[in-house]
Amino acid sequence: MLVENVAALGPTQRVVVPELRDRWRELGRCTAAADREAAEQAIADMYRAARLPFAPQVVWCSSPLSLALARAHLLAGGGEPWLSTAAPEGACRSAIAAVETTRALVGMQLGRPVSSNLWDGVRDPRRVRHASWPQLARALAPAVAEELRSQIAGRVQLAVWDSIWSEVPFAVWDALCAVAEDSHQESPAQATKAIEGMWRYLPRELISAHDQFGTFAVLEYLREVCAGQILPEYDAALRLARSAGWAVAYERVCWVSERPEMLRLDGQERLHCGDGAALGFADGWQLHFWHGARVPAAWIEQREQLAPSLALTWSNIEQRRVLGEIIGWERVLAQLPTRVIDQASDATIGTLLECDLPQLGRARFLRVLCATGRTFALSVPPDCASARQANAWTYGLENDDYELEART
């Protein structure tokens, strides 16, 4: 990239920052169908810029889940017990069998057929080769960072990053990274073993291009405002981000996902819907969120049937907090026999409660206000006598050692 070193942003240059931010924010919320022609051209250009000898076969998938499952299944071909029906003559037959098995598994998991184009795209397993992503990665992501560091004075870099990077709403994609890892837990029992087997092969190395929205926004800023000329691979990556969902690049195959068909956010641009799925894809994959935290569908769809005790006993504390919010802390405490053992004047030290839980008996909980303004309930030992002591215990400290200078 050719950009003059800039000491500070001028007024005209500052005006563009919010415009650019809004442009990428809209893109992050986009639920339109991919522009496949534009995306495939961008992918071909990225491969050419990375000096790869072949234009890849582009495989379109309806969702990141379909993408991950099908790809993982292919990569696992041959060596897994659940592929025992694979023909012995080689990887091609194994991969075909894997595709068919995956199709059935995905169908079971999603409850409806996955779009046929995915399967049409992966039926030629001879074109699938593993592990050339590092070549693309080396060509793109670190280079972007290096260009930014070397070409721009520190102050301007910080100003741009602070204004754009931190505010581009890639919460959607960040959340998807997390949920892609545990969505198999909701699969039907008969499919669980097989899906766990292939989960080891899921792509952890790349979820592009939306993971790089902040970088793209900065690049676009440099091109438009600082009159910089960006290299062809950056331009291609920008075009891919604008035209499609996630992509996972391999030497001869590039897997690309459609965007979600439905996306709902709260006022802070966190994934959220109080009466249904917050994210939905064309293949039927739906995800439920409560103000950014992913939750099981039943918590939203059948919230009236949730047992209040779950808000004190659910294993994941973030989801436990969400349960408290969905059910309502007042309802939780009203429906369980609860006694206040100790209440600190400081809400971040909290209240020590004792209650009788159905089937679990007497237990003590620390109800505490987090520095982010959210309320949590933590299980603590029955011999904790004060809220401060309970706080100290949660960090493995004695009461006298718990003197915080700051909590964030």
Binding site: W161, E318, S379, V380, L404, E405, R407
Partner: protein
């Protein structure tokens, strides 16, 4: 941003300044204390101080910080060579404010890092009747 010289917490992670790092703790090569791969947010490679199951790690971007790990999964240590180190929370929503660990003049500074836990009576008491707070 808030700064501490002795004791402070960022969400479910507590930092406490100590005089020295116990000998049974050794420098860890990334990946982080739980074996999670380092995560890159944008251009910067982060040292993962506390791994989160949901990817919302607590990280330090400074190259002048070394992580020491041992057998206790609830405790690790940091050695700061510079004047300070900023602990960031990688979550796009409900983000914990950055916490600055201040160093001492004229030498490295050590901090103990303690993960928050909660009571879990269903676990084998010989293993400790508690579990790590998962977020």
């Amino acid at each position: 941003m808030k700064a501490i010289r002795k004791v402070g917490a960022q969400g479910d992670v507590l930092f406490r300044r100590v005089d020295a790092i116990p000998s049974e703790y050794q420098p860890a090569t990334q990946p982080g204390p739980s074996g999670a791969p380092p995560r890159s947010a944008g251009a910067v490679q982060h040292l993962i101080v506390a791994h989160s199951e949901s990817g919302h790690h607590h990280v330090i971007a400074s190259p002048d910080v070394t992580l020491y790990t041992g057998a206790d999964p609830f405790v690790c240590f940091l050695r700061l060579e510079g004047a300070d180190a900023d602990v960031e929370h990688l979550r796009p929503y409900d983000t914990h404010e950055t916490l600055r660990l201040l160093g001492q003049d004229g030498g490295p500074t050590c901090y103990e890092v303690r993960r928050q836990r909660e009571y879990a009576p269903e676990r084998d008491p010989r293993m400790g009747a508690f579990r790590r707070v998962e977020d």
